[in-house]
Amino acid sequence: MKKFVGACLIAAALPAWAHHSFASEFDVSKPVKLQGTVTQMEWINPHSWIHIDVKNADGTVTSWMIEGGSPNSLLRRGFTKHSLEPGTQIVVEGYQAKDGANRANGRDLTFPDGKKLFIGTDASEQTPSAKPDK
């Protein structure tokens, strides 16, 4: 079954921008579009995780975890962990986890009015003082 095959080389490379294989984690045949209320933003590396509660048609609520990018970059571009407070409504488009859990990658994140979360930066320097686009 499980077989240890020795050193896994860094040279066995992921693309330079990918920390791990997203295609192994998420299912390309399961696109999702979710609108929900932020309950928590986990400000952690290598990926930020946003927790949302999604209200179903029957009135029940399903909690989802949404995978996003490194908080280091967000912070450098003026987005802090207080920029997405619990209670905020967001819309997530992405793909569901292969194992069927209520996790998805945050392919595109928007506010209900269509405005993008996070996008846009001062490319000249990384001064964490700019306001997020919201």
Binding site: V5, I10, A16, H19, S21, N45, S70, N72, S124
Partner: protein, 334 residues
Amino acid sequence: MAHRLHITLSALAFLGAGASLAPAQSLALAAKPATTSSTAATSVRTADGRPDLEGYWTNTTVTPLERPKELADKAFFTPEEAAEWAKRQLATPEPTGPGTYADVHYNMAQFGLERSQSKVAANIRTSLITDPPDGHVPPMTPEARQRNADRAAKNKGHEFDGPENRGLAERCIMWGNEGPPMMPVGYNSNLQIVQGPGYVAITQEMIHDVRMIPTDGSPHLPADVRQWMGDSRGHWEGDTLVVDTTNFTDKTAFRGSSANLHVVERFRRVDADTVLYQFTVDDPSTWAHSWSAEIPMTKIKGPIFEYACHEGNYGMRNNLSGARADEKKQQGGK
């Protein structure tokens, strides 16, 4: 001698979607490698008179390691061509399309991860590789090809058996950029250099390891002591910090190298905003001859942030559970 051009690289400000325009910046372009250490004397010095390499730097680049085919006979761009090249590279959209595997990833622009959202050190070279002159990594020796093929064959079919089978980056042990040699990485490609009596320390944001480099003349560790990032020893040659690294393991193959890898790095402060970083790698077990590259590093505002990679590495668990789900599906005859 080092020939440097200073241009107003406003062209770099034509950035990808979502990025605002950068103010025009004067960036140093390292056009030719330094051949002597004394010609680039800088007035920026530490209290003990050494050239001051301290501060926060980025090695983000739009220059490929190897020269693109279409530029085979062209080692240098003109400044105008370089600006156009940078503009094209930074504007290249993500390779994605709904329903494709490339799409199963978040929008890099949204999370501030595109190179267009970083400061980029300008470079008129068409490849980071400076030697051999064709701008390409020398061919691998038959021994190295066999070694790497054997490794790949061993892991084939077992890629998702357990965490031990996953790559070092996914396991948050090391990233391929860390080196030495230190290479640009897709995002957070930042580092900090600190100089002290007898030591130079380098922290790379990705993924947080600190290189402590003695400059006190002490010898390398005994040959039987092997380290993930090798054993680095530095000394000054005029105004250039030269760092010699040996004692690698075979776990961190740099482009397929072996534990015999030998890296020599050179750091030179060529102006207030630029450290020119050059390296030569040699490994007779891997390449027919040594090869060299150079990467200008440009100054950024600090600080760099902790990248506690393993703290939230849910991706590892999720990849393995995804693989188990795939196996079940296959066992079910689907």
